[in-house]
Amino acid sequence: MPSKFRYQPCREFNVVVLGAGGVGKSCLTAQFVHNEWIESYDPTIEDSYRTQQSIDGRQVVLEILDTAGTEQFVAMRDLYMKSGQGFLLVFSITSKSSFEELEMLRDDIIRVKDDEDIPIVIVGNKADLEDQRAVDRAKAFALSQRWHAPYYEASARTRTNVDEVFIDLCRQMLRRDDSHDDSRDEPTSNRADEWGAKRRRRKKRKERCIIL
């Protein structure tokens, strides 16, 4: 982390939202990018999934790639993953299979990005449906520890922890970006990510489980 103050230009990050079909990840995305005062949401315009956030006083532009509805296009995932610098792995706490699918998704991510330290946040969605819970919190927590990725339980419906998961991911990406900038003066890019594996540092990430 740079201790000295440095002018930080507006960063731009690509976030990829992944998860099985029907876990409500699109709701998360829609809730996050959707300004409530927009009366009608049109997902077909260019910046439908673009949003600017202020993270710890720094301006960050997020381009969110959520290919909701195309889960069946398995082979395309590679392509989508390639563009991501941070990943939101979403499952539904009411669906065990959606939780189990995360493992495979993460393997894919690490293979595609060739980087085991890629920023990831695990999200257990539909937290409002506690009575239908099929995935133990402990299990999710164990996964979180194993992956060193924070775990949140969120609900798009009640808008709980929606912003938090994205902001956490942003922090991770910013932190990583900073450390890269420190080690070399190359602007952040996919290239940097590709070779990032070489100089990876084991960082003790704070592990979190946000209980509702």
Binding site: G21, G22, G24, S26, C27, T29, A30, W37, I38, E39, S40, Y41, D42, P43, T44, I45, E46, D47, S48, Y49, R50, E63, L65, D66, T67, A68, G69, T70, Q72, F73, V74, A75, M76, R77, D78, L79, Y80, K82, S83, E103, M104, R106, D107, D108, I110, R111, V112, D114, E116, D117, R146, W147, H148, A156, A197, K198, R199, R200, R201, R202
Partner: protein, 1204 residues
């Protein structure tokens, strides 16, 4: 309220130039004003200091209540003693005046329009309070809708005023007011008892009646060639609508007084208890002494302000501004055209001054000639509008050219329209030029280029149209000429784009400014007269020829037209949204026109002869021509659809209704297909409705091609209403039970929400057919917000309650029947709708049969038939298939392209079928592979039904509800896997490189076929991690191919929400295979991003119809491409292909990961080359060995070993 906040708040930043030079106070209201403390002269950018000293009052309104109130009511008179100079207009208020607020400045001044007289200006919000009584709410909301609609109607008059829908809201609002006050009928106890109330009610109703009549006149003017000045009528209507509100307010006041007098301790609604003896809003016909005094005060104070103004011109304006009788005769002063004209003149003079001093002026909105001018006075707005119009005209022209035969008159008309609108654009550009002395070099150049292009177009057209060759007896342009015209028109498009862009650039530099735009075509003479004469000669034979007309219907759908228009207009929209600027309030109207005459600028008196002016001097003409604020566009050609079956007229059914129905529908289709970018998706929808409409008509025969000979329903009702007395007319209108107030509209007048019963009411409106989008959306999506049974019940209910209003019952019941019939014939889904069938049958047998026996019989037949038929009785898409393929392939007679397959390749396939060795993908020609893949995919794509796409069905329960979506997506995935697999199957580097090369070629062929789905799949495979990392192999691929791949990838780039792909699809004409995934994502987000219900302004929870319109739009866009390619299918090849895809699919069993498997294979083929070079660094996880094998282990244990 919420509805408007978004938009309105965006307008709240008002560029104000209001001087606070007010030291001397005089007149009646001076006490308070004096108290407001020291007048400051320093600030130029804020409105005058709030006239009341108590700062907290300002705060209360400005800060602590963030809610934007659309209506304010004055509780204290405000008569500014200082008056407007050129840049300031304040609005004098009387107690009880109601104001429509456009924006509120943070300092507490609001820009508003006084409903009493339509004057617009700044007013202090601390003199007012929000006005939103329960009883008036729906009327006030209706007025807002009305206002918005009227302001935005410069473009689509025909569409809007072709029917009376826009009147519904107001009528329903008045009805609501009367209903909630229990004064709905004349016989109501309250009305009977209270004479004042009765009178007030009567005057409210007669005002409404007057508005309704004006609207009818407008509707009429639309139908017959419009001789009347539509703008005047519109202004008139807005004023009348305002009056209705004023009367409504008064009515309510009287009622409140009455209530108070009866129940002393009642809660007080208005703040004016102690002054209640003063009529709150002055009645229409009596000038109270109060207001006269107020006026006198204002008049007295006037010299002060004009003294402030230095220049004489300024003082002239200053005179204009305050010299308004604030209230005395405001309602009674029937809005006079003469005064409006005079006002316009004076306004122009103010404008000139403004241009000199380069400040911004305020104008009067409503008493001015056109309400719509609000939007267009900013030069940037005008520029965009003109450019849009020009492009859409050119677009339709180019579209027409693309067709096989064109009738000369229609071409000539198109050219005329194009050039007229081009002239307008040029004019705007000239204004910009004239306004800025710097920066304009490039603009002038572009302008001249554009001028040249347009002239070129006109000359070309003239040559061609006026010199018919000997072979041109059929009114047809030969292809060669066609090309010339096309070239000229495209040139125009290009140069206008350039010119508009430059102009925008200049505007950005010099700042946006306002100007008066009167007559667009002025000054720019393209020698159109010759052109015009041609159509006039030819029009008659042309119009009666159905073929030519049909062509013109299709024209807007043709590729270039929609392409050119849509691209440009989308760019425009963006530009516009950037340059949003708030229209400033306006100079108050002149009530004494005569006295103003002398102050006219000399040049203004010049007769309107600018049409002969040289181009570059056309700027002054903006000042001098005062006839009409709106561009004088020639009316759009009446286009009819000949796709409807021509049938013989049989007088068994009440045909008059059918007639209107049909006709208004037709005009809607026309607008839908000719409105440029918006039409691209509409075409399909409207087409489908044509079919259903046609089928409807097939069963209730009447005239199909019935131009003006038959009286339409609205004509009839018009005469009816003339026959009856107006009071009765309105009374009966009001007594109609209606749910119109439960509907919500957007700015374009489209329904965005409503209760089911209100939506059903709209579906069965008696005055007009709802637009095609609405109908098709409703049929497609009603199961999402209702159930078949509920819908049926709502329809039956509608059938019942309309009986209370006998004069509309007939048509509405027929409509209801037609809705049922359309449903059964074209939109029936047996498995879902079955449950409603008994209800429908019962309805047909009992209720319907009692009123319309033949219809009842027919409906029963249908209901019996529908359960036995698989699929719909009348296919929905038949005709659009035919049309689109015609437009894409020309005549459709072109022979199918011959398959590119050699004998040996065929033999290899036969051999394989007989059990021999399997040929590889590289054994076949890329062209043929691409074609066969495309055929296969298109077959799958075409079989996707709209129902599969609703409610994210394909993601639920493993996609059982959407088998075809699933099939399509698994084929696409299979294709990607096939690409990867076929490459990794080769052990040798060279062979792998060959395979890659081959697939790149196939991808290229797919892109030529515009098969974006396959293109996506193949590039996806080629760039998959397991392929991408094969460095040795890629080194062996020629650089040329790699470049090709790059450009192919760029075409299906998904970044920025598929920006590139969307742009391409937008312009694309079938046959074309879009990437299905993109639609699926869009539909998913429309579904989750828009709530199912919304809350209307009146606090009602209603169906969010907007969501469903969007869904239908997405699906319509997808359906647009469901048109098969004309390619030859090779059965053997298809079999082989299916086997190949199946082969890779097998490996993709659940639990295993095809991509991971591929990756392992890839690692085996070309191990990590860095393996030996790398030294272990920085911790264990980056050990190449471990990361390499982690994939292999990952399936069972995860990666954690190294991380632990």
């Amino acid at each position: 309220m919420l509805d408007y906040r978004g938009v309105r708040t965006s307008l709240q930043v008002a560029p104000l130039t209001i001087q606070k030079t007010r030291g001397r106070t005089s007149g009646g209201s001076s006490d308070r004003v004096d108290a407001s403390g020291g007048a400051s002269v320093d600030s130029q950018t804020t409105p005058p200091a709030t006239p009341k000293s108590s700062q907290d009052a300002t705060n209360a309104i400005g800060n602590s209540s963030p809610v934007f109130h659309n209506f304010l009511r004055a509780f204290y008179p405000f008569h500014p003693d200082y008056i407007a100079n050129d840049s300031t207009v304040t609005l004098p208020l009387n107690e009880g005046d109601v104001v429509l607020v456009h924006s509120i400045h943070t300092n507490g001044w609001a820009d508003g329009t006084l409903l009493a007289n339509g004057a617009r200006g700044w007013l202090p919000t601390n003199y007012c309070e929000a006005y939103d009584p329960e009883e008036m709410r729906s009327l006030l909301k209706a007025l807002l809708n009305f206002w918005d609609l009227m302001r935005s109607t410069s473009v689509n008059d025909c569409e809007l005023f072709g029917n009376q829908d826009f009147m519904k809201g107001i009528i329903a609002g008045v009805r609501c007011l009367l209903e909630q006050t229990q004064c709905l009928t004349r016989e109501a106890a309250l009305v009977q008892r209270h004479e004042g109330l009765r009178r007030s009610r009567k005057s409210l109703l007669s005002e409404l009646s007057s508005l309704v009549k004006t609207a009818k006149r407008l509707q009429d003017a639309q139908r017959i060639a419009s001789t009347e000045d539509v703008n005047d009528v519109l202004d008139d209507m807005i004023l009348k609508a305002f009056k209705i509100i004023t009367k409504g307010v008064r009515f309510l006041d009287i009622l409140d007084d009455d209530r108070r007098s009866r129940v002393p301790a009642v809660t007080v609604m208005t703040p004016l208890t102690e002054e209640a003896y003063i009529p709150l809003t002055p009645p229409a016909d009596s000038a109270s002494s109060e207001t006269t005094q107020g006026h006198a005060a204002a008049a007295e104070s006037r010299p002060d302000a004009s003294g402030n103004a230095s220049e004489s011109a300024l003082s002239a304006v200053g005179d204009v501004a305050p010299d308004r009788v604030p209230c005395g005769n405001r309602l009674s002063s029937a809005y006079q055209r003469q005064s409006a004209g005079a006002f316009r003149l004076s306004q122009n003079s103010s404008l000139q001054v403004n241009r000199l001093s380069s400040t911004v002026s305020h104008r009067v909105s409503l008493t001015g000639p056109s309400s719509s001018s609000q939007l267009h006075n900013l030069v940037s707005e005008r520029l965009n509008t003109c450019h849009d119009t020009f492009l859409s005209h050119l677009g339709s022209f180019i579209g027409r050219l693309q067709l096989q035969s064109q009738s000369r008159p229609s071409l000539a008309l198109d050219i005329k329209q194009s050039t007229t609108s081009g002239g307008e654009l040029l004019f705007v550009v000239d204004v910009v030029c004239a306004h800025s002395s710097i920066h304009i070099g490039a603009l002038e150049q572009a302008r001249n280029a554009m001028y040249g292009r347009i002239q070129n177009l006109v000359h070309t057209a003239r040559d061609i149209l006026s010199n018919p060759g000997p072979e041109m007896e059929e009114d047809v342009i030969v292809p060669h000429d066609n090309g010339r015209l096309l070239g000229a028109a495209t040139g125009c498009v290009k140069s206008s784009g350039e010119c508009a862009a430059r102009a925008r650039w200049v505007i950005e530099r010099i700042g946006d400014f306002e100007f008066e735009f009167e007559n667009g075509s002025l000054g720019i003479d393209f020698g159109l007269s010759e052109l015009v004469s041609i159509p006039e000669e030819k029009v008659k034979p042309g119009v009666t020829e159905p073929a030519a007309i049909a062509e013109s219907t299709a024209s807007a759908d043709t590729p270039t037209a929609s392409a050119a228009v849509s691209v440009a207009s989308s760019a425009d929209t963006r530009a516009r949204s950037l340059s949003i600027d708030k229209p400033l309030p306006d100079v108050p109207p002149v009530t004494s026109p005569v006295s103003e005459q002398p102050s006219l600028h000399p040049s203004l008196l010049a007769p309107q002869t600018q049409s002969s002016c040289p181009l570059d001097s056309s700027v002054p003409s903006s000042v001098s021509s005062v006839t009409s604020l709106r561009p004088d566009l020639p009316p759009l050609p009446k286009i009819s659809t000949s796709s409807l079956p021509a049938e013989n007229y049989s007088p068994t059914e009440p045909s008059a209704t059918q007639e209107t129905d049909f006709r208004s529908f037709r005009s809607e289709t026309m607008t839908a297909s000719s409105s440029g970018s918006a039409s691209t998706y509409l075409s399909r929808d409207s087409e489908s409705s044509i079919v259903s409409q046609a089928s409807t008509r097939a069963t209730t025969p009447d005239i199909a091609q019935a131009p003006k000979s038959q009286p339409s329903l609205s004509n009839l009702s018009m005469t009816d209403s003339l026959a009856t007395t107006e009071d009765e007319d309105v009374e009966s209108k009001l007594l109609e039970k209606t749910y119109a107030h439960e509907l919500m509209f957007n700015k374009e007048g489209q329904v965005t929400g409503g209760s089911l019963r209100a939506l059903v009411e709209r579906l069965t409106a008696h005055e007009s057919t709802p637009d095609a989008v609405f109908v098709s959306t409703f049929y497609l999506t009603f199961r999402l917000f209702s159930t078949p049974i509920t819908f049926t019940k709502a329809l039956i209910d509608r059938f019942d309650y309309v009986g209370e209003a006998p004069h509309v019952a007939g048509p509405v019941r027929l409509r209801t029947y037609n809705v049922f019939k359309g449903w059964l014939e074209s939109h029936w889904r047996e498995e879902a709708d079955r449950e409603a069938l008994p209800l429908i049958k019962e309805f047909a047998e009992v209720k319907l049969a009692a009123v319309l026996p033949s219809a009842g019989k027919r409906l029963l037949e249908l209901a019996n038939k529908v359960s036995g038929v698989d699929g719909t009785l009348v296919p929905r898409l038949a005709s659009s298939v035919g049309k689109a393929s015609t437009s894409a392939f020309g005549t459709g007679e072109a022979p199918l392209p011959a398959p590119v397959i050699s004998r040996s390749q065929s033999n290899a396939l036969l051999n394989w079928k007989a059990g021999g060795s399997c040929p590889s993908i590289v054994d076949f020609d890329p062209v043929e592979v691409a074609r066969q893949v495309t055929i296969k995919q298109m077959t799958l794509f075409c079989s996707i039904s709209p129902e599969e796409l609703l409610g994210s069905k394909w993601t639920k329960h493993g996609g059982v509800g959407a088998p075809n979506v699933k099939a399509m997506s698994s084929f696409t995935t299979g294709l990607t896997n096939l690409v990867i697999d076929s490459i990794l199957n080769f052990e040798e580097v060279k062979k792998r490189a060959l395979a890659i090369k081959h697939w790149i070629k196939i991808a290229h062929q797919c892109s030529l076929l515009r098969n974006y789905d396959a293109l996506m799949a193949i590039t996806c495979g080629l760039t998959a991690t397991s392929i991408k990392r094969l460095k040795l192999t890629w080194d062996a691929v020629p650089a040329k191919r790699k470049e090709m791949l790059k450009s192919l990838q760029a075409a299906v780039d998904f970044n920025q929400n598929f920006k590139v792909l969307r742009a391409q699809l937008h312009d694309q004409v079938p046959p074309c295979l879009p990437f299905l995934g993109m639609f699926l994502t869009d539909l998913t987000f429309v579904d989750v991003g828009n709530p199912a219900t919304k809350t209307s302004d009146t606090g009602l929870t209603v169906i969010n119809f907007d969501k469903h319109t969007r869904t239908a739009k997405c699906i319509g866009e997808l359906q647009r491409f469901q048109i098969p390619y004309r390619l030859t299918e090779l059965p053997d090849f298809q079999d082989w292909l299916a086997a190949q895809i199946d082969g890779v699919r097998e490996k993709d069993t659940p639990g295993s990961n095809a991509q991971a498997a591929h990756y392992r294979k890839s690692l085996l083929l070309e191990p990590r080359e860095t393996q030996q070079l790398r030294t272990p660094v920085e911790g264990p996880s980056s050990l190449p060995g471990s990361s390499m094998f982690s994939w292999i282990r990952s399936n069972n244990s995860g990666v954690s070993a190294a991380l632990g």
